[in-house]
Symmetry: D3
Subunit: 320 residues, 6 copies
C-alpha cells in the first residue's frame, strides 16, 4: 500500500508517494522559465503538482496516464494545497497496487460472493438454479463481477460496488417478501442477481472508472440481455416463458422509459425489483453523502437529486 | 348481512335484497307509460334496476341515497344484467348493516390496531412514545382510524384499509431496517404511523367513500400536519427538532412536488418512508387487480399506471 | 375471396358472407325472448349482428373467435348499420382465406423481398453482406418478415407492412445519402434492414394483429438485439466494433428515451436512421388518414398526433 | 451608518470601513510568506481582501462570520477590485448597525404596517376581522412580520420585503375587485395578508438571509397553516367552513403542484390570489433587474425566468 | 325572437319553435318502419328529436344545417328529454334571427365599443393614437370585432365575447397600473386592444362558432401580426421601435411556448399583459362554470383546468 | 487576408496580425505597475493578450470593439497560450476584411444562389414561381440572404450558412419526393426556400453574429410571416388558399410548440418540411462537431443535444 494518500496530505508536509498522472501541461513563468502543471490522483482524491525546477528534464521521463513516484513539499496556494515537486519519475504498472488508485468496497469480495451464492443456491426453481450455476461456473464473468463498480458516481461507485449492491439487494428481497403473500421469490432473487450484470462491461475499471464505448452506445441493460440470453440457451429445457419473465425484469428494472427502461415493469416481481433496487442504491448514496464532512448540518446540494440532505437528528438527552 | 349481493346476481334469478339507491331517473315508454331507471349499489358492485309497473306510486316511497328493499327478477339487457323491480320501499338506516354497503378489509380492525400499538410501544424514544400514546388515547380518532379507507380507488380502498396499509407499512419498515445500519427506526415507525392519518377526515365513508370538502380543498397531507401539530403541543417538553423531523416525513411522503408533497424528502428516513409507502400501496393495488377475473393472462389496462399487468407465471411442471 | 366485405354493406342489402366472430353476448327482449348480439369482423372493418330468431339453437353452433358464414339483412339501427342474422354456422379455418380477414400491403411481398435483397447485396462491406445473407438464408425468419405488419395501428398496420416500410426506408436512405458526404452507407442500410425485425415476434397476426406476451414484456427493440446478436455470432470474424455500431442503431432508433430507446442515437448514422424511419412511418400514416373519406377538408382529430390534418390543396385553375 | 459601502469602492481609493467576514483562507506566496484571503460583505455587495503583511498576527484577531473594521487600499487585480488590507480587527456586534449589512425596503415598515392594518380593519366579515386583530395583537409576530424579507433572491429579497409585498398585494386586490362582481373581497384580503406569513420562520435574517432548517424541511406554506390553524382556534365561534376557505387560499397560492402547492386553487378567490401574488412578485423582480446597470438595453439572462428582459422603450421625440 | 328555447323545454310540454338541424340520421324500428333521429340546436343548447311518423315524407323537406320549424311533444327517454316531432319543415335563413342560435354577450356591443374607444382615445402617445384610429376607421374590421366570440368554449365563447373580454381587460389594466410606477400605460392599453383581434378571422360565427381553415393552420396570434403590420405601414412615421414593442406584446401574450407563443414576454408590459389577459379569461370562465346548476357545491370536473371548483362560501349568519 | 489566425498561433511564435478587441481590462501588478488584459478575436477563435509595458500609453490608442494591429510574442501561461503585446494600435474598419473575423461557408455564395434559383425556376406552379421571382428581384433581400448565417451556434453558424442550409434542404427535398407519391413538390420547395428567411433580420453579422432586438423579441418565424405576407400582396391574383398553405409551412416548421412553432404541422408537406429541415441542420451540426479534434473517439458532451457523439467507425482492413 502507498505510504501517503492525497486526502492525508497537510500543509508543509514532505511528500514521497506514488500517484497516477491525469494531466500534464507546460507553463512559462514571467521570467521565461518553463515549468510543469500536473494533476496527481490516487483513490482518495486528486491534487495539483508543480515542477518549478528542471521541468524540461523531469518532464521527459513520464507522460499523462503514467504512474509516477513523486517527492516534494506540500504548500498552500490560493487556499488549496499543492505539491512543489522536487523529483518525479515513472513507475512500472506491475509495481503498483491497483487498490491504491481505485476506491473499493469495505467488504471482502470473496465473502460477499460466497454469501450471494449461498442465497441463490437455496432457490427451489431448478431452471433458475441451473442458470445461477451457469454464471457461477463462468470464471471470467465471476472475476469481473467481484471487481466491478456499480457506477461512476451515483451509487456504490467503487471496486466491488456491483457485488456489494447486488448482495444487499438480495438480502433486502428476502426480508421484504416475508411481508407479503403470493410472490415468486426465486424469480425476484434471479432478477436481483442479474439486473446490473451488464455493468461488468459497461465500465472499464483498471485505473479509473470510465464508460466503455459499448457501455455508452448500448448500455448495461441491453448488454445483460445478450449475456443472459446466451446463458439461457446453454441450459437444456429452460422454459421459454420463464426466460421471458427473467428478461422482463432486466428490461424494466429502471422503472420508467425516461430512465432508460424500454418497457415498464408489468409483473408484480418486476415492480418490486425496481423499487428495491432503487431504494438500495439511494440509501447507499445518501449515507455516503452524509458521511462527507461539510461543516454544516446539510450536505452540499446534490444536482441529480435536486436537493441537499439534512444530517440533523434527534439525540437522546445526555442526562436521560 | 344481506341475503344477496350484486356480484352474485345471475340471469333469471329472483331478487329480494337491500340496496343503496345511487340514482333515480324517470322515463316514459313509447306507449306513454312512466317508468323508473335506478342504480342500486352494495359493497360488491352496482346494478341497474327498472320499475316498469306502478312506477309513480312506488317512486313516491323513496329517494336517491335511500336504502331500499327490492324484490324483482334479474334479466339480461344488451348483455348486461338488470333487475326488473316488482316491489321497492325505503328501509331505515338503522336497520341496515354498513358493512353490506362498503367493502371492508379482510383483517379484523381490533386485531390490527392491537398489533400496531404493540409495534409502536416498543419504540425507545420516549417523546415519540408519548406522541403515540396521545393518539391511542384519543378515542374519536382511533375509532375513525380503524374504519377509514386508504383511498377511493387507488389502493386499500375499503373500510379498515387505512389501518391495514399502515400496519403493513410498519411491519415492512421493521424488516427493511434490519438490512441497513444507522437509521432512526423510531422516527421511521412514527412517520409510518402518521403519514396518512389525515385520510380519516379527507374521506367520508358512511355509505360510500367520498372526498369531503376539506379533503378536496386541503388534502390529507395538510390536515395531518394540523392534527400532529396540535397533539405535539399537548405533550410536555416535546423537542422542537424532533417535531420538525416528524412533520417533515408527513410533508414529503408523496416523494415529489407533482404528487402533492410541497417538499422533497430530505432526510434518510423520509426518503425510505416514501419508497416503502409507495411500494406497499402498489403491491396491494396490483395484487387486487390480478385477482379480478378477466378471461386473459393480462389485467385490463390501468389508466393511472399506464399499463396492464401480466398474470402469467412459471409453474413447476406437474410431473416434476 | 369473400363475396361481400363489411365496408361495402349498405342499408337493406341482403348479406351472405364469411366473418370472424369477435364477441358473442346473449340478450333477452322485454317480451322475454332470448337473442344474440354479435360483433362480426373482416379485413375491411367490424359490424354488429343480431340473431332475433332461433337464437339458442343457432348460438350452439359457433363460439367467439370462430369463422362463420352469415346470412341475413342489413338494417339501420340508431344511425348505424347492423345485420339481422337469419342463419349462421361455423366454417372451418382451412376453408377461409386469411387475407379476407387481415388487411395486407398493396405491394407483392415476393417482389418487395427481391428488391430489398438486391439493394442489400450491393453493400461493399463484406461483414455486413455476410450478415444480410445469414438472414436471407433463414427461411423461417424470411417467411415471417414477408408477412408481418409494422404495427397494430400507427403505421403500415397490415400484412406485409413491415417489409413495405423496411423497403421504403432503404430506398429513402439511398436517396438521402446522395445529398451528403462522409456517411457509412452500408451501416445505414444494415440499420434500416434490421431496425424493426423484432416485430416479427412482437405481434401475432394470424386472425388479427395482436401483441404477443413477449412483445408486450420485452418489445421488438430488445428482441431484435437478441436475434441480431445470435446471427452475428454465427458469422466468422465479424468485427466486434462493427457489431457494436449495428446494435447501437437498433437500440437508439426510436430517438428518445421516452419513446422506448434506452440510448440516444450517438453516431451520425444512428441519428439519420431515426429521422428517416420516423419520417417514412409518418408519411404512410398521414396519407392513409387522408385517404379515408370524412366529408370534410380535415381528417378526424388524431389522438396520438394531437391534431387533425388538412387535406385541402391548391389545384391549378381549369382554364389555366 | 457605515462610512463606505462595497459598491462605492473605486480603484486606488483608501478604505476604512466595517464589513462582515464571509470567508477567511490562508495562502503562502512562492517566497514562502503566509497571507490571508478574505471575502468582505456589506448590504451593497461583496469584495475580496488580501492581507499580505503581518498575516499571522492580524489573522489571530478575528474569525469568519465576525464583523471587522478594515483599513487598506483598493487595487485592481485581474480586472476586479480588491482591498490590500493594512489593518483589520474585530468589532463587537452591538456596535454595528444591522441595516448596513442587509438591504432593506425603501419604505418605512411602521407606515406600511399602519396602512395594512387600516385596509384589513375595513373588512366587513367579523370573524376575519377578529382573526386579523389576533395577528395584530401578537407582538412577536408583528415584529418579525415587519422585518422579514419575502425571499432570498427571487422577489422583495430585503428586510421589510415581506411587508412591502403583502401591502402591495392588498392594494392590488382592492383595485382588481372593482372590475368584477360577486367576489368575496374580505376573503381575498385575508388570503393576501396571510399567504406568505410562514416566511417569518422560513428565513433567518440577522446577518444575511438564509433558509432555516425548518424553512427547508417544512416550507412557509406548511408553517403558516400551523400558525393560522392555532390562531383560529383562539377565536370563539370561528366558522369551520370559513376556516377551510382561508386555509385553502394558503395551501393553493403557488398555483401548481410543481411549484409546491399540494392543492390547486379551487375557489374563485384562490385563483385570483394566486395570479395577483405571482404578478406582484414578478413586477418587483423585473423592475429590480432593469434598474441594475448592465451597459446594454438587455438585462443579463435570468436563469429562473429563462430569458433576459428588454429595457428599451419608445420615448416621445424631444421636439414634440 | 324564438318562442321557446331548448333550455326551457320541460317534460310533456307542447313544442312549436325554430331550431338548427345539426345531425339527421335515419333509423328502422324492429317492426321495419323508418324513422328519423335529429339533433336540434339553438343558443341555449341542443336536444334530440325523433320523427316516428311520416319520416320519409317529412325527411325530404330539410337537410342537416337547415333551420327548421318543429312542432311536437317533449317526452322523457332514458332520463333525457327529447321531442317527438309531429311536423317539421325548412325555414329560410333570412327569416330567422341569428341571435336565437348563437349565445351573445349580455352587454350591448355598441356601448362596449364606445367605452373602448373612449379609453383608447385618452392615450398620450400620438403614434399609438393614430394606430387605434386606423382600426376604428376600418368599418369591416369594427363590424367583425363587435360580433366575434373570444373562443369556441374556453372563455367568453359567445357573440360579442371578444369585445367584452377586450374591454374588461382595458379597464383592468387601468386599475392595475395605478398600483405601480414606471409603466408605459399606452403600450399596455394598445397591447390589450390588439392582443386577440386575429380571432375575428380565426373563427367563423354565422350559425355556430367554428375554427376557420386559416384559424386552424395559422392561428389568431400570427394573423393579427399580419393585420397590425399592415395597419402600421399605413401610418406615416410610425417609429420602428414602437412597432416592435407592440408586436412583441401580441407574439408573447400566451406567456409560454407550449401555449403557442413563439416568444416569451420580455418586456415588463408584455409580462403584465399576459397575466391580466389570462386572469380576465379565467374569471369569466370560472364564474360561468359556477353559474351552471349542478345540484352540488362543486362544479363538474373541468378537464382543461384539471379540477372542479367549489361554490361554497361563508355567508353572514341570518341573525347577525 | 490576415497574416496569422488565432488557431495557428504556437508557443514562442512572433505575432504580427490584426484582431478585434472583445474586452479590455486594466490590472495592477503587485509591484504597482499598470498593465492591460485583452481578449483578441478573429474568425478562427479568441486569445488572451497582456500589455505589460507602456500599458497606459498604448491603452489610450484603442477601445473595446476596435480592430487593432498587434505585435508581440506567444507564451504559455497556466497551460494556455497568450500574447505578450509589445505594440498595439487601432486599424480603421475599412482596412480590414470582414471575412477574417467571421467564419464563412466553404461554398461560393453566388454559385449557391444560382443553383437555388435554378431549382426554384423549375417549379410548375405559376403563383409560386411569381413569388420566388419577387424575392429574386429584391436586391436588398438577396444580398442579405447570401451573407446571413443560419444561427449563432447551433447549425451553419457562419456567413453564407443560411443560403448553404437552404440550398441543401431544397436538394434534399428533391431527392426525398422521388420516394413518395402525391406530394405537392412546388409547395415543399417554396416552404424550403422561405422557412428561415426571417433570419436575415434576426441576426446582425457585421463583426460577430448577434441577435438583433427584433430577432430576440419577435423571432425569425414571425418576421418571415410579415415579409412573405407583404411579398404575396404585391403579386396579382395570388390564390388566398395557396398563401395560407405557404404561410402554414413557415409557422409550423419548428415542429412543436415548445420549439417555438405556434401551430403544429397540419399538412403532409408541412410535416415533411419540418423533418428534413431538422435533419439537414443536425447533419451539418454533428459533422462539424466530429471534425473538431478532441484527442478522443468521442466529441465533447453537447449540452443542447444531451450527449456526445462517437466518431469511431469500422474501416476496411488494410490487407483486405
Amino acid at each position: 500500500m502507498k505510504a501517503l494518500f492525497v486526502s492525508d496530505i497537510r500543509e508543509n508536509q514532505a511528500v514521497d508517494s506514488v500517484f497516477l498522472v491525469t494531466s500534464k501541461n507546460p507553463g512559462v513563468t514571467k521570467g521565461g522559465n518553463s515549468y510543469l502543471i500536473l494533476r496527481l490522483l490516487d483513490r482518495s482524491g486528486e491534487i495539483e503538482g508543480r515542477v518549478w525546477e528542471r521541468a524540461e528534464e523531469l518532464g521527459r521521463a513520464f507522460e499523462k496516464n503514467d504512474f509516477v513516484r513523486v517527492r516534494g513539499q506540500a504548500t498552500l496556494y490560493q487556499g488549496k494545497i499543492q505539491i512543489r515537486v522536487q523529483d518525479i519519475h515513472r513507475i512500472d504498472e506491475k509495481d503498483i497496487s491497483t487498490e491504491d488508485f481505485l476506491p473499493k468496497s469495505r467488504f471482502d469480495p470473496e465473502a460477499m460472493a460466497e454469501e450471494l451464492m449461498t442465497i441463490l443456491r437455496r432457490m427451489k426453481n431448478p431452471h433458475l438454479g441451473a442458470l445461477a450455476e451457469a454464471f457461477f461456473a463462468d470464471e471470467a464473468f465471476m472475476d469481473l463481477f467481484k471487481r466491478a463498480p456499480a457506477g461512476k458516481s451515483v451509487h456504490h461507485p467503487y471496486l466491488g460496488g456491483l457485488l456489494e449492491h447486488t448482495l444487499s439487494l438480495l438480502k433486502l428481497i428476502l426480508k421484504v417478501v416475508e411481508n407479503y403473500e403470493g410472490m415468486d421469490v426465486d424469480l425476484l432473487l434471479m432478477g436481483g442477481f442479474l439486473h446490473d450484470i451488464g455493468k461488468v462491461y459497461e465500465f472499464s475499471f483498471d485505473r479509473a472508472v470510465e464508460y466503455t464505448d459499448q457501455g455508452q452506445l448500448l448500455g448495461h441493460l441491453v448488454m445483460e440481455i445478450e449475456i443472459v440470453s446466451e446463458k439461457i440457451k446453454s441450459i437444456p429445457d429452460f422454459p421459454e416463458e420463464l426466460a421471458m419473465l427473467v428478461k422482463h425484469m432486466l428490461v424494466s428494472h429502471h422503472g420508467a422509459l425516461e430512465f432508460g427502461s424500454p418497457k415498464l415493469p408489468q409483473t408484480l416481481e418486476a415492480v418490486i425489483l425496481h423499487y428495491l433496487d432503487d431504494l438500495d442504491g439511494k440509501i447507499q448514496s445518501i449515507q455516503s453523502l452524509m458521511e462527507k464532512e461539510s461543516g454544516s448540518r446539510w450536505t452540499p446540494f446534490h444536482r441529480a437529486y435536486g436537493r441537499g440532505f439534512f444530517r440533523g437528528r434527534w439525540e437522546r438527552e445526555t442526562d436521560d
